[in-house]
């Protein structure tokens, strides 16, 4: 396989109001030809030599810095060992987790915006479990 040359895949997830996945794809096509991309439900897979991928990913990030997220992926796109078609149905397990995280991205994006604007986070009060004695009082007073 591609061991000699360090071929990597990064998944770029766009959670932006101003950048569409297609814009990102166009950007990649314009800038690099050593790269292949594949769009999936949750993001764009960018595959190629490490340096080229990093360069492209940095450019993509700059399109909307706080609302585009990136991680490396173990399998290259279409790898038979993780391919839905070959596996007979269900997706690879990591897919489910990615789905969970993607749902959180708008919140993380907003938080990054706030951080950039030096807005200190509000004091958060986390409630502990109610004291047993108190619970007993509540039960008794409601009987």
């Amino acid at each position: 396989m591609n061991n000699e040359e360090d071929i990597i895949t990064k998944i770029v997830v766009i959670s932006s109001d101003s950048v569409l996945p297609i814009d990102a794809a166009m950007k990649v096509y314009e800038s690099e030809n050593a790269i292949t991309i594949k769009e999936t439900c949750f993001g764009t897979m960018v595959t190629g030599p490490r340096a080229a991928v990093d360069r492209v990913v940095a450019e993509l990030r700059n399109m909307d810095r706080n609302h585009i997220f990136v991680k490396e992926r173990g399998f290259h796109p279409g790898d038979e060992r993780r391919c839905r078609a070959v596996r007979g149905g269900g997706p690879r397990p990591g897919f489910h987790y990615l789905r969970e995280e993607v749902q959180m991205l708008p919140m993380i994006g907003k938080a990054l915006d706030a951080y950039d604007q030096h807005v200190p986070p509000a004091e958060i009060h986390r409630t502990d479990k109610i004291d047993v004695k108190k619970l007993k009082d509540i039960i008794e007073s409601n009987l």
Binding site: N2, E72, L112
Partner: protein, 150 residues
């Protein structure tokens, strides 16, 4: 640049934040990539063979299930390599690499045993908590040395 181990070890958000603030995330995906691209090993899908659970004996005793030891053969060396750690507690459901609760307990324990800077944050439940989550992680990552130690 510090090598930062993240927990959950396959998290997109944590991996992204670590890289965003100038450090190297030690994430499962890269290790898996090395495994699956190893020429000459043909044990799909992850190329984990009976050898991995044996290698995992370095991190867990023989009475520990094979699946835990197999995972530890990959996660263990990442912990060894780590110079800092970000742990998210009570993270939402994770599958695959993070699919085994027992492995996850052991992973967290072994990270906590290391004398490295460790940040532990709670998984956010609201937008306000999300802001605090990002703030703490960002501040922690900024406090880490930017030049590589090795």
């Amino acid at each position: 640049m510090a090598k930062v181990i993240i927990y959950p070890i396959n998290s997109l958000i944590l991996s992204d934040l670590v890289e965003r603030f100038g450090h190297k995330p030690l994430a499962m995906m890269e290790k898996i990539k090395d495994k699956v691209n190893t020429v000459g090993v043909d044990s799909p899908p992850l190329n984990i063979t009976a050898e991995e659970p044996k290698k995992g004996l370095k991190y867990a005793a023989v009475e520990v299930p094979a699946g835990v030891r197999g995972r530890m053969s990959i996660v263990g060396p990442m912990i060894d390599e780590a110079e800092a750690a970000v742990i998210v507690n009570e993270a939402s459901m994770a599958f695959g690499c993070m699919g085994c609760a027992r492995t996850n307990e052991l992973t967290k324990y072994l990270i906590r045993q290391k004398e490295i800077p460790i940040l532990e944050v709670e998984y956010p439940r609201s937008e306000e908590e999300g802001k605090e989550f990002v703030y703490k992680i960002a501040e922690f990552l900024k406090s880490l040395p930017m030049e590589s130690r090795s």
